[in-house]
């Protein structure tokens, strides 16, 4: 996903600092997580800024990077990897890191204020904003489903849509308070291809998980009543909805709003010439990604006894589905400028 967003990230930073770089470039990554990709963003930013400096023949600015995620995120692992990360950059680009790049961790929900007023130049977020602040209220009739599904009653679609409107508006307002005038954002998140929330690229990946849960219920491993009361705090917005919320909220001008499709299995990429389709492997790859995202919520609702069995079943359903049709994720990449 970052590889598709990379040129846009690069163009945005270059456009932002086309005349001059600030003394200290202050930026935040919202929903940084704690895996192999966490520092990839910082690394990209350092590259872009370094290149800009060489072009403008100017002194390297200081970089203050804030890595944000929920307080339960494993910041310790991220922090322990920083010395190696710095060493690598030190070797590649002289004292760039040690002298110029200051990285800190900011625990908290991005549905709350995270930074002082007008303190940042740039916000980035990859694969996070599709998570809602909470499960929408009033959807207790969404039985047998765990998200908007083809079979969900109409109020469920409305409740999810309204929760996203509320959350995304709040998110924009909070960030607009924290960013300087003229500051930029680059957000990438998962969406859907049509206005209809019943579309496959939106619901299907979670419908297969609901189906796997119901299989476990049939075996007596899960209570069906527990499935009925479980719903995901997640939303795939349509690009038209995103545009409308941004315009209504009013703090940012949209510079670019594009969508691109990616295969559910990231290894099954058009650039990966060595890829051989293997339904079992693809099923497992997708299941691992979905598991990494959803496991904490599943465990806190269903306990941790069922997850291995659940994702084994899920991997099979995903693999079977991908044999029939390579359903895609639709990703939005959105860049905006804070209004004067």
């Amino acid at each position: 996903m970052l590889s598709k967003a990379r040129p846009i990230l690069e163009d945005t930073i270059k456009d932002m600092f086309s005349t001059a770089l600030p003394t200290c470039f202050k930026l935040a990554d919202l929903g940084c997580s704690s895996g192999p990709n966490t520092l990839l963003f910082v690394s990209e930013i350092i590259d872009v800024v370094y290149e800009l400096c060489q072009q403008q023949n100017c002194k390297l600015p200081e970089l203050q990077v804030f890595l944000n995620d929920l307080p339960g995120n494993d910041f310790n692992t991220v922090f322990k990897s920083l010395p190696f990360f710095c060493d690598k950059f030190g070797k590649e680009k002289g004292d760039l890191y040690g002298q110029h790049c200051f990285i800190s961790g900011v625990p908290g929900s991005f549905y709350h204020r995270l930074f002082p007023s007008k303190s940042l130049h740039f916000f980035h977020s990859s694969c996070s904003i599709h998570w809602l602040s909470k499960v929408p209220e009033g959807i207790s009739n969404n039985k047998g489903n765990i998200y908007m599904a083809t079979a969900s009653p109409p109020n469920v679609f409305k409740a999810y849509q309204e929760q996203f409107q509320k959350d995304f508006s709040l998110f924009l307002r909070l960030r607009s308070e924290e960013i300087i005038q003229g500051g930029r954002v680059v957000f990438t998140f998962i969406s859907r291809s049509t206005d209809d929330p019943r579309s496959k690229d939106c619901c299907l990946i979670w419908e297969l998980l609901a189906k796997s849960l119901l299989d476990l219920a049939a075996k007596g491993l899960v209570l069906e009543a527990d499935i009925d009361t479980f719903n995901l705090p997640y939303y795939h917005p349509y690009e038209g909805e995103v545009r409308e919320i941004i315009e209504m909220e009013g703090s940012f001008d949209i510079d670019k709003l594009e969508t691109f499709a990616t295969n559910w299995d990231a290894n099954d990429d058009i650039n990966n010439n060595n890829f051989v389709f293997d339904k079992d492997q693809c099923g497992r790859n997708v299941a691992n990604i979905v598991r990494a995202a959803a496991e904490p919520m599943l465990v806190s609702h269903f306990g941790d006894d069922i997850t291995d069995e659940l994702f084994k079943r899920y991997a099979e359903y995903v693999g079977e589905h991908l044999c029939v049709e390579k359903t895609k994720h639709i990703n939005i990449v959105l860049t905006m400028t804070k209004k004067e």
Copy 2:
């Protein structure tokens, strides 16, 4: 220790903002650790700023607090405790925390740059600056000791002193680059009562640990050669030395440099009317504090098999010593202003 430094911390902040508070007060706690005291400093600061605002009848400034410690510090535990901390403050002082206080974690050694140039108003550090950046070089003849000891050869004292001079000068230079002109610092750290580094309030607490290690060597649990090659990266400076280094480095004006004595066992405090001296309990209390500080270094040198036995023996030695004489820690509290 913080209770003794509290009035000085309060006076410094009040003096600093006697005319007006900034829009956003930016400060850092260096060597924040991850125990019950980690957020005590933030809590004190919020109290002082809140009080100042009420006195000046002004809008509460935003607070940006950077908690710093080495990348191996358990920031996850600190971060997980933040929501409870905020709730508590929210209840006591309205929306003070949620709207105004932004806490982040900064992993790294304070013997490196940690923050952008001129980006902070205030530095605090409690019980950290007596840790050196490394064990001094050239002290391989300090056999049977693990720190400066009465029986150490003269070069050992010199090597420790020089390492502190180098480290503390560097520390001052780095902080002076990060703080604004007129910015303040309040540092509290452990020192000694006389110019003579052989003094009991300096060496003894570690001599008893060396003695405990040698007991384990006599039992065959530790190799004597391993003790000979182990030395602590620690230094108890005399206040005269501290003053001289600050004056030589030249970035800060000393506002106050005071010392105060505390009992090795913090429970054995003059304000604790209920305290009954129990040598076993006191020995264990002191051993627990020393263990918390030194265990990671001991484990990485001697392995983790001996630590329980070592600190049991150590607690006995400390208890026996405290029956004979209540040797004190000598603490320095130092406040300074960044020069124009």
